[in-house]
Structures are given as C-alpha cells and as structure tokens.
C-alpha cells in the first residue's frame, strides 16, 4: 500500500496548516468559562463554551501576566491567543496570552448598579460639591508615580505656576489592592493638609480603570473635606469617581489646569490693581490741589485789603480825572486871557502914538476927529507918545486923502 503516513506525520502536517494560518495566529475568542483548573505547575486549563459548543484552552504559567483576576466557572471572558494542535492528543486548542472579562457583560452591569445605588444615596448631589479654591498653594496628587498621568500633571502645573507645591501620593491604580491604595492616598493627603486633591490615572480598558469604580474609593472621595478633582483616563472614559468628585476633569492634564492658577495672570492682575490705585490716588491729589488753588484765589479775593485796594484805586482814578478836568479848564481860560491881552494890545492908543500919530483933544476935553470941531484961533491939546502940546489953530482947511478904505482902518 502506497501513501501510508504515520500519526506523527499527519498531526505535524495539520499543525503546520494551523500555524501558517494568519487568522488563527492571533485571535480573540469570547465565551463562558467551564472546567477551569489551576494546575500546580501554574498552567491553567479550561474550556470556552457557548450555545453551540466548546473549545479547549490553556494558559501557560509564562503568560499568567495576561490575566489580572481569578477565573471562575461561568464567567464571560474574552481570550486573546492562537489556535494550534496538541499533537499528543491529536486535538486543537486555544493557547491564551491574555484573558479579560467581557466588559459589556458583568463589569458594565456592576458599574451601572453601583452608580444607581450611590446616586440614590445622594452621593452625586451638587449640594455636596465643594468649590475648587481658585488660588491654591498645595496640590495633592493620587496616582501612579510612573506613567504619563503624573508627568502631565507635573508639567502643566509647573508651567502654569511653579510656586505651587505639588505633593504626590504614589498609589497603585490597577490590579489587586489598587482601590485601597487610592483610598489611603486621599486620606493621607487630607491629613497632611492640601488645598485640592487630584485623583486619577491615564487611559486604559474598563478593567484597568476599575479601581476608580470601587465603592470604597467613591466613599473616600465623598468623605474627603478637601475638594477632589477626578482625572481618570480620557475624555470618553467615565468612572464612578467622576460623579462623586467635586469636579470632573476629562484628563489628568486638564485636572492640573483646573487645579492650578496661572502665576503670570495673577501677577498681571496685581499690576493692573496697582496702576489703577496709583492713577486714582494721583487724580485725587491733583483734584485736591486744584481745589486748593481755586479756594486760595477765592479767599484772596474776599480779603478786606482787596476791597481797600480797589477803593484806593478808584479814588486815584477819580483824582486823576478831576485833575485833568481842572488842568484843561485852566489852560482854556489862559488861552482866553492871552487872546484878550492881544486884543487889548491892538486896541491900545499908545501903540498908535508910538508910531507917530497924535490924539487931538478940544478945549471941552472931547476927542477931535474933524476940522468942524475947532474954530480958527481956537485952543486944543495934541497928545504924542512922550507928551502933549498945547496948540492954537492957525487955519482949518478940508483935505481929501487918496484911496482911503474903511476896511483898512481896522487893520492899522
């Protein structure tokens, strides 16, 4: 007979087929745990089953880090591993690398149940929320001492305000005992005395974040007299502590921003206050100075000396006016007098006599202006500039003088 193969050949051929299959090399399988045996060697043997059937599974001791809980009969789990052939028994099985509980099942139900219970107790009520102080000096942090969360918080906090004291309580944030560790951290920081506490961790699966869903953590946050900011995972992750905390931050970085004020902004604010006060006080002072000047001027004006001065001034003015008027009048009269003197001078007979004319006076003492007033042989007196002559008229004859003008007579 040709083409006869050994058992070994067939089994190893099938095993090769399995191992070359891309999908079977890395596969997630979900089902209910049954026939679970923790072997003394550290290996775990179990089966996954659903309504249709079962598949044999093994998790070797070397892969146990991929399992963070104790598997029990009937648990819904998801196993990551590869499917291969166990040649000795001639059967295939699932070699598990990681096993997680099926979140959409048990964990989620547990979460919802606790959330409902705590909400009914009033632990999420807004009236219990303590306000986060806007200007803190000491910030307590409960998180793992390694990892992105603590680094993010320290970076953001010291960038915003390097003068704020950060106090880290290094806690376990996942696995066995994590919840107790977080509770101790919150209590220790409260006792130490801080202004605000940030409790959280970076992102992860629902199992990773589970410690923040534990009732003891929720109670510790609720009982803490220091305001607590929750900072678990990413924006989309929600845990019980987010509902109980006084403030929920979407991420650890955001928590640092919410907890720590910006030193620069506070200093700017102070500078603004300072300049506002300076401006106001100097405005007040200059207003007071102006008022002082104004009042001094008014007071000066109201002084009796001022009235005296003005009266004296008025008197002076009146005197000046009076004097001027008087002087004017005097000058005027003097002119009139001068005029009269001139006129008198012109009218004086003496001036005529001095230019050679004579004044004739008859015996009766009257002035003689024509020949008819004196008879021949009659006596008269001729007045000259320096004396008089007693005379007798020898003869009287009329005479006519050429171009005698009456007008000219006045100007002589």
């Amino acid at each position: 007979m040709k083409n006869v193969y050994t058992v070994r050949q067939v089994n190893s051929y099938i095993r090769n087929m399995f191992n070359q299959d891309f999908m079977l090399n890395r596969i997630y399988v979900k089902g209910e745990v049954s026939n679970c045996k923790y072997h003394t060697s550290g290996h775990i043997y179990f089966s996954l089953k659903d309504e249709s059937g079962t598949i044999a599974c093994v998790m070797f001791a070397g892969s146990r880090s991929g399992l963070s809980f104790r598997m029990q009969e009937g648990m819904q789990v998801i196993v990551l591993g590869y499917v291969s052939v166990y040649e000795r028994d001639g059967r295939y099985q699932l070699y598990a690398r990681e096993i997680v509980r099926d979140g959409s099942g048990a964990l989620y139900e547990k979460f919802e149940a606790l959330k409902k219970e705590l909400a009914e107790m009033g632990m999420f009520a807004p009236e219990y929320k303590r306000p986060i102080p806007p200007y803190v000096r000491k910030v307590g942090i409960v998180t793992a001492p390694t990892g992105a969360a603590v680094r993010d918080i320290i970076n953001i906090a010291s960038r915003r305000n390097p003068y704020v004291q950060l106090i880290l309580y290094p806690s376990q944030v996942q696995g066995e005992g994590a919840a107790q560790s977080i509770v101790r951290g919150i209590q220790a920081l409260e006792k130490y005395g801080v202004d605000v506490i940030i409790a959280g961790r970076g992102g992860g699966s629902m199992e990773d974040l589970w410690a923040f869903n534990e009732e003891i953590v929720a109670r510790a946050v609720f009982d803490c007299r220091v305001p607590v900011i929750s900072a678990v995972g990413h924006e989309t992750d929600t845990t019980i502590i987010d509902y109980v905390a006084d403030l929920r931050a979407p991420t650890p970085s955001a928590a640092a921003e919410l907890a720590v004020y910006e030193a620069g902004a506070a200093k700017e604010q102070m500078a603004a206050y300072k300049s506002a006060m300076r401006r106001m006080i100097s405005a007040k002072i200059s207003a007071a100075g102006m008022r002082l000047q104004r009042d001094a001027a008014r007071l000066g004006a109201a002084h009796p000396r001022q009235k005296l001065d003005s009266k004296r001034l008025y008197t002076q003015e009146l005197e000046n006016r009076f004097r001027n008027r008087m002087n004017m009048r005097l000058t005027q009269e003097k002119h009139r007098l001068d005029l009269c003197v001139e006129k008198m001078k012109m009218l004086s007979p003496l001036s005529r006599l001095s230019s050679g004319y004579a004044y004739i006076q008859g015996e009766d003492g009257r002035g003689v202006t024509g020949i008819g007033q004196i008879e021949e042989g009659g006596l008269f007196t001729a007045y000259l500039a320096d004396g008089r002559i007693k005379s007798r008229a020898v003869s009287c004859e009329p005479a006519v003088y050429p171009s005698y003008d009456k007008e000219d007579e006045k100007n002589v």
């Binding site: 200007y135 704020v164 106090i167 309580y169 290094p170 106001m280 006080i281 007040k284 002072i285």
Partner: protein, 70 residues
Amino acid sequence: MEKEENQSLDQMFGQLEEVIGKMEGEEVSLEESFELYSRGMNLLKQCSQAIDEVEKKVLVLDENGDTHEF
C-alpha cells in the same frame, strides 16, 4: 489694619476690588483715599507673598506621613 495675613489670594483680590471700587467713588475724601491707597498697597504686598515666588520641587508623601523629594 485688619488681619489680612491668613487670607487666600482670592479673598485679597476681592478686597482689592472693593478698595478700588471705593476709591472710584466721588464722595471719598482725600484722607480716606490715602487710607484706602495704603491699604490696597499693603494688600498687594500680601498678594505677592501669597504667590510665594519660590519654585517648588514635587514632594512624595509616604505611608508614615513623611515627605521627601520625588
């Protein structure tokens, strides 16, 4: 002057705003203004002290309640 040493920066900022508000009022006398001004300056000094401009190292709190550098 009242006890202002133990107040938070928030409270002191609040008081500063109050002082400035009063100073802005028309009816405040010059003497009162000086008083308010010196009070405001004093508050500002305390604000600066509250900010406490010394860079802090991160401390780690251990199980015994003791702290040491991170």
